[in-house]
Symmetry: C2
Subunit: 361 residues, 2 copies
């Protein structure tokens, strides 16, 4: 992975700049190179590989794995990769942009210097979770604002992962918080164990699991009904801004899970009712709001040093988002800002339909 590989992709690269450092990155899925791969000041930082999903554990797990399977928690936040680029510790988004907010936020709260001193080619991979999150807010007990949880450790150039056990020991040694580890199971008992684990996670409104081969090479994910329905609730609250395939896939997952778990008619009906509420009630709330003359937006709260908050708002605006600041207060050394990302289609289309515009499909 060097300059030459990048030259071939030139037409598909986005350009960026962070504090005078120019970089190029692969913003979408391409054959042969991970989305999010970055070339910055002669350093390549590999994209985080797409994690495949199974809709059916009992068949999908043994089809995908041999031998033993480790199970760790999949958290609902945003994916970040952290690497040391010529002495600067930078946080990269899934698509390969330097995130000025996450870079500063982690720089102030997590000591990664020791990691990069010992392992300069490390790519620290993890999830940013919690309610005060500028991209995807989700509540986790014990997480009051926004925290990092490591879930992978890879070589930034080759993308090679550490084996799970080694990775977990290393992060422990450095005092870096990690995603939950559930266990390592024989491939033939793994599906049953995962069903049990996912049932518990579902009851706690958590997202799901990532299964891996012990060497960390092979990955597979599976999510809870709570996650599917939570995503649907959010997507249908912005029905004309979310992709229909996004919605459709989550509906499909619910059906396969219900069948695999052999739900009795009452349980299945309960799932159907919850699904219907997730879809309809979020949409009627949105329409009611717009009918009342208000606008719908995507609201987030962040708590960070004033300079970090400024960097975030500037970064989002540079991406073309229109932001409205709802609240802006100081709190100790931090600034707590609630802002709303403007969404266009849901407001415009809903208003049009409410005004009696005609649908010609």
């Amino acid at each position: 992975m060097g300059e030459e590989a990048f030259e071939k992709l030139e037409d598909h690269l986005n350009k960026g700049e962070y504090e005078g450092k120019r970089y190029r990155h692969v913003p979408d899925y391409r054959r042969g190179i991970e989305r999010g791969t970055v070339l910055i000041e002669g350093t390549a930082v590999r994209g985080f590989p797409k994690v495949p999903r199974t809709l059916v554990l009992e068949e999908g797990v043994p089809t995908h794995f041999d031998g033993r399977v480790t199970v760790e928690e999949k958290l609902n936040g945003y994916n970040v990769r952290v690497a040391n680029v010529n002495g600067d510790v930078l946080a990269f988004s899934r698509s390969g942009m330097v995130c000025p907010f996450t870079t500063r936020y982690l720089g102030n709260r997590l000591d990664l210097e020791a990691v990069f001193e010992e392992y300069p080619a490390a790519m620290v991979c993890g999830e940013m979770i919690g309610p005060e999150n500028p991209y995807t807010a989700h509540d986790y007990p014990g997480v009051d604002s926004l925290e990092f949880r490591a879930f992978d450790w890879r070589d930034r150039e080759s993308g090679e992962p550490l084996p799970i056990e080694e990775r977990r020991e290393r992060y422990d040694a450095f005092g870096i918080p990690q995603t939950r580890f559930f266990g390592t199971y024989d491939v033939h008992e793994a599906a049953g164990e995962v069903e049990r684990i996912v049932t518990d996670l579902d009851a706690d409104d958590r997202e799901g699991v990532v299964m891996k081969s012990p060497d960390g090479e092979t990955q597979l994910k599976y999510t809870t009904s709570a996650a599917n329905q939570g995503d649907l609730e959010f997507a249908f609250s912005l029905p004309f801004d979310y992709g229909q395939p996004f919605m459709f896939r989550r509906i499909i997952r619910e059906a396969f899970q219900s069948v695999e778990w052999d739900e009795d008619p009452e349980t299945r009906e309960g799932r159907a009712h919850d699904l219907g509420e997730a879809i309809l009630l979020s949409m009627t709330d949105t329409i009611d709001t717009i009918a009342d003359g208000e606008r719908i937006g995507e609201r987030h709260t962040v708590r960070a040093r004033p300079e970090t908050v400024d960097a975030l708002l500037e970064h989002l605006r540079n991406q073309g988002l229109t932001l409205e600041i709802i609240e802006d207060e100081g709190s100790g050394d931090d600034r707590v800002v609630t802002f709303e990302k403007r969404v266009q289609s849901t407001n415009d289309k809903t208003r049009n339909y409410l005004e009696g515009h005609i649908v010609t499909e």
Copy 2:
């Protein structure tokens, strides 16, 4: 509308042949010419115009109409236009194919000769409804098999409609059955009247209404929750064969109706539960069936003269459909055949997922 207009569209025309009569037709929506327009032996038969829809009656009706609005029932079946082409009475599908089944079926059961003798340029427009229907089966009390209901009368060349009153009187005079007429209302009371009518239709599991200006020129449709949910139930029973926009539009309609009708929380929750059942339970039934080693298909029963049934099966097979005959019996002069149209994607994809194939989205 003549040869010249058609020449310009040459690249977008489909060709067909019916009993030695060659024809060309416009199979999809094009600017400036109705989908389904046919040129056959020098005669042009106009496509039936797309009927626009409102999601909100209170605003949509006065935006769309002036003065007075007539309301008739919209039936759930398939659209057919009948015209006299050089002495042969032919039935055309929505997309402009001669339907050999409908042509024969109507020829045997409905006396249209008198209509065309008096009005040779008439285009008789209506819906084929009932449970024994090769395209869209829906139960209507009093309709045991398959029947025709006229809902429009147009000039076949110009597409000009008759005014509603004149049209209804003419069909009455010829003894041709028609869709139900609910009334003519002042535009400002029409939305309220339609809400009342649609609520009754919904309780009877019927589809909805078409509103028209009394001259027949302007049309607008609005459907019941029963129709939206019935369509969703069907679509999600074949989830990988139906378009996601088809599903999405019907979900959206439910939300706007719930808001416009200002449903109390309990009623809205009930609608959400029904919606969830329509979506999830049809899908889990399909997955269960395929998990049991069976195939899913689209099943229809038709009852007609043996020659008419043969013409249908040949017509469907000529369109590339794979049919399986489930039952085939005589009944008086008629043959009663139950057949299944094979669907591909739902069977293949569902089986793949059940076998543990991986999803990479």
